[in-house]
Symmetry: C2
Subunit: 173 residues, 2 copies
């Protein structure tokens, strides 16, 4: 799929069929994620891919906003050994921007592989840490739920370009 | 260009020809950026696009790490009216992850349009605020420098998948 088409047609999908996703496909998605740029090429990330039904069930119980049952969940973690800064610093912000680039790469790659995915930011962190056996240095910053879509949701309402795009300098609107 | 090819061949480009970029092309890039997903569809962003040579020169003076002269610089700003949380909160992290998705979408779109781009996170923030006339609620979280490439840099060394990708849970390595 063409990049611009992928950008235009990708949706956040939250309902899936029970069909599994192959490990090869999941690895391709992680490789897509890890091809995002990172400041100083530090690649401050780790990806934990869950596809065992029992563990998915336990994760779902720690994610209040999730109604559907995905075939896989990928946790995108910040590796603090590679971005060991406090919130509020430019370095910390850059590490999160970097993870955001990995997130979008994974979401787009999933879409081109005919999978539906959504990013989840709200969950019970201690439960996630425990279920994924995360060591101290890995912070689960985002979960991506994935599966074969049973829906193609409408696109969200977008803010008009005139409201978000300025040339040369910002003029109050 | 296919998404997977774009992911695989995109590079951070830091040297450019003097050829300008059209406003139409710049608007397409901003639209690509703004097609990234955002938590609760809040779209907590603004994009300030600079292409006047005088203003580019002033911006360059505020970015110590930049040697080349780009045809355009896009500032990706966090709109704190739409993500009004403090650093260290999950909401703030999600807003930065969202901007990171916009960043990667813009970088990939630039690449498919045969432009070279790089993201810059280190600069003198008060100067940037002043040059772009940013109002209080817009924080310049990232700059993207763009132009027609005079180089196709080698790809960076990537961490092996075995080091960054785990199935089911993290096993110490």
């Amino acid at each position: 799929m063409e990049l611009l088409e992928a950008l235009r047609t990708r949706r956040s999908v939250r309902q899936w069929t029970p069909e599994p996703i192959s490990d090869q496909q999941l690895e391709r998605l992680v490789q897509a994620a890890a091809s995002a740029p990172s400041a100083g090429n530090r690649q401050p990330w780790a990806f934990v891919v869950v596809r065992e039904p029992g563990r998915i069930r336990r994760l779902r119980a720690a994610i209040p906003g999730m109604s559907g049952a995905p075939a896989a969940i990928v946790s995108i973690c910040l590796d603090r050994r590679r971005a060991d800064r406090e919130p509020g610093t430019t370095e910390y912000d850059m590490a999160l921007l970097t993870l955001g680039g990995a997130m979008q790469s994974l979401l787009l790659a999933a879409h081109t592989e005919q999978l539906g995915a959504c990013a989840l930011g709200s969950y019970h962190i201690p439960s996630i840490r425990s279920i994924l056996a995360l060591p101290e240095h890995l912070d689960p910053k985002l979960l991506i739920a994935l599966g074969h879509s049973v829906e193609q949701p409408d696109g969200p309402t977008m803010r008009p370009l005139s409201e978000i795009c300025f040339f040369e300098e910002v003029v109050a609107k």
